[in-house]
């Protein structure tokens, strides 16, 4: 009897040890993946940035380790997304941030945020040095964090099913219909405003989803009449949908994108502004926009 009990204890301990081993291996694997991702993400763009004067970053505590940690919701093509089937972040924001990091002489690490809606809180909690995720600069966000504006203003694009079955040609046409957008986006703010204004008597049924691609899927399936996102993203979604959905309205209401910086990081903000000015002078900035066919997105004051 005793031997049988001790045998089962041994078995249990062996299983436990095996489980721990697997866990350790999995964690190790994760680290490897991260490193791989960093290498891919931090590859500097080679678009003739060599002539840029180095920017003094000695007074920036966040950059003392030579690494800029960027929080982003990497599911918003073409602004930021993972290259199909890989862990390599790519997109307009990513290319621009890589250029900024090169100008600052630091490496970049991109971190997928848990939730776009929580991105401001993630930054104030110091989970990242900066956040860059096609974040429109709004008053509410400016109350919490500072911004370095870099693109736009981008407009809002209205996606509809192919052939525009609901005949949506202007904002007022959204009143009374089910319209989707990602939670926490400026588009949700817009719809809430419409429901107080133009759509007061016939409010939009606002459907919020945790990520943009899911709400685009919902439009493709016809569960919602329209879907709102930033113009370039809407255009890209339509392009990727094999003619299932199309852009019905573009360009209404807009705000520039900003890189989010904590209010207690004025040095980092100044360094990023200097880097942005440098790559605008050197032409790298225009090249990044041209690479993605988004010349219209150049920042206007």
């Amino acid at each position: 009897m005793n031997t049988r009990i001790s045998f089962s204890w041994q078995l249990l301990l062996t299983l436990l040890a095996a489980a721990l081993l697997v866990l350790a291996a999995a964690c190790g694997g994760d680290d490897d993946d991260d490193d791989g991702g960093d290498d891919g993400g931090a590859t500097p763009t080679e678009d003739g940035g060599a002539t840029v004067e180095p920017i003094d970053i000695s007074g920036v505590p966040e950059l003392a380790d030579g690494m800029l940690t960027v929080g982003s919701d990497i599911a918003y093509p073409p602004i930021e997304y993972y290259e199909e089937g890989t862990q390599n972040a790519t997109g307009l924001d990513i290319d621009l941030m890589n250029a900024l990091a090169e100008a600052l002489g630091v490496d970049v690490e991109y971190k997928q945020v848990a939730d776009f809606a929580g991105i401001v809180g993630d930054l104030t909690a110091k989970r990242y040095d900066v956040v860059m995720s096609a974040i429109s600069i709004t008053e509410e966000r400016q109350a919490e964090i500072d911004f370095v504006p870099y693109f736009g203003p981008a407009g809002t694009g209205v996606l509809v099913q192919a052939g525009n079955p609901e005949g949506i040609t202007k904002i007022e046409d959204l009143c009374g219909k089910a319209v989707g957008a990602q939670v926490g986006t400026i588009q949700v703010d817009y719809m809430n405003e419409f429901n107080k204004g133009q759509c007061k008597d016939n409010p939009i049924d606002i459907k919020e989803y945790p990520d943009n691609p899911t709400s685009v899927q919902e439009l493709g399936l016809g569960r919602i009449a329209a879907q709102l996102s930033d113009d370039p993203v809407a255009a890209y979604s339509a392009l990727q949908s094999d003619g299932e959905i199309e852009v019905a309205v573009t360009g209404f209401d807009s705000a520039p994108y900003g890189i989010g910086v904590r209010k207690d990081s004025p040095e980092l903000k100044a360094a990023l502004e200097a880097a942005l000015a440098a790559i605008r002078d050197s032409g790298v900035y225009d090249q990044v926009l041209a690479d993605w066919g988004q010349e219209d997105l150049a920042y206007q004051d």
Partner: protein, 251 residues
């Protein structure tokens, strides 16, 4: 270094009974109750199939448990809500399959797999001799099952079922992935606008605790009703209150 605690109880109070939160609470309760009902019905059905001795029925039930217990509920929900409508391309199906209905069905069928095992354990807990006794009185196997075995199995089945139900209440929060605004999703919508993340998470937490507390009390009452002897009759909130009232009654 200073330790600054930023927490605004005013925000918690303000949103505790906010309409979006209350809608989320109601949605969460509805999903859990309906899915648990589906789970119990499927559980009884498939457990009977498993113990029936019929190999085809037993295999079908075994496959059901294997599949639905072996894949995440969220995966099953996404297959049902996003994947299947794409396969069939039928607008009526897609429109009628709302996020809420999809969640009830997916969680219900998933729950059924766990309930099958719980029901099977309940049936096995009743001595085999009782089935023979029933048959010797002229009952068919199904009659004996319904009149003798299942009523006794129920007592064994209630505590783990209560566990399952409470797990379901909490796990329904993953349905926000398909845009269903249940309790946690409601908190998410609000903090996405006002950035009071911790406060809204606390609001959601308080509500989850409140709901699970109410249902735990209800579970104890059900156990008391089903108990056959005083030995296994648990003291419950209601029974304690009744005892107290009886003790104070003058002789």
């Amino acid at each position: 270094m200073t330790l600054a605690l930023e927490f605004d109880f005013g925000v918690v109070r303000e949103y505790m009974f906010n309409d979006v939160i209350l809608d989320g609470v109601w949605t969460t309760i509805q999903i859990a109750v309906l899915a648990q009902l589906i789970g119990v019905v499927l559980g009884v059905l498939f457990a009977l199939m498993r113990v029936s001795g019929n190999r085809a029925l037993g295999f079908a039930a075994g496959f059901y448990v294997w599949f639905f217990r072996g894949t995440p509920a969220l995966l099953q929900l996404m297959i049902l809500y996003l994947g299947i409508p794409r396969m069939f391309d039928n607008q009526t199906l897609t429109t009628e399959l709302t996020a809420f209905r999809a969640a009830v069905i997916a969680f219900g069928v998933n729950e059924g797999a766990y309930m099958t095992e719980i029901m099977r354990a309940g049936i096995l807990s009743v001595e085999g001799g009782q089935m023979d006794a029933g048959k010797s009185l002229g009952m068919t196997q199904l009659q004996a099952m319904r009149r003798i075995i299942l009523p006794q199995a129920m007592r064994v089945v209630v505590p783990p079922t209560g566990n399952e139900f409470i797990a379901l209440l909490k796990n329904s929060s993953v349905a926000f992935a398909i845009g269903l605004v249940e309790l946690l999703g409601a908190a998410n919508l609000i903090y996405s606008v006002n950035f009071n993340v911790m406060e809204l998470l606390v609001v959601a937490g308080i509500w989850y605790l409140a709901i699970t507390t109410v249902f735990s009390i209800a579970q104890a009452e059900i156990e008391r009703l089903l108990a056959v002897s005083d030995r296994e009759r648990p003291l419950t909130l209601v029974s304690r209150v009744l005892d107290l009232m009886a003790a104070r009654r003058p002789l």
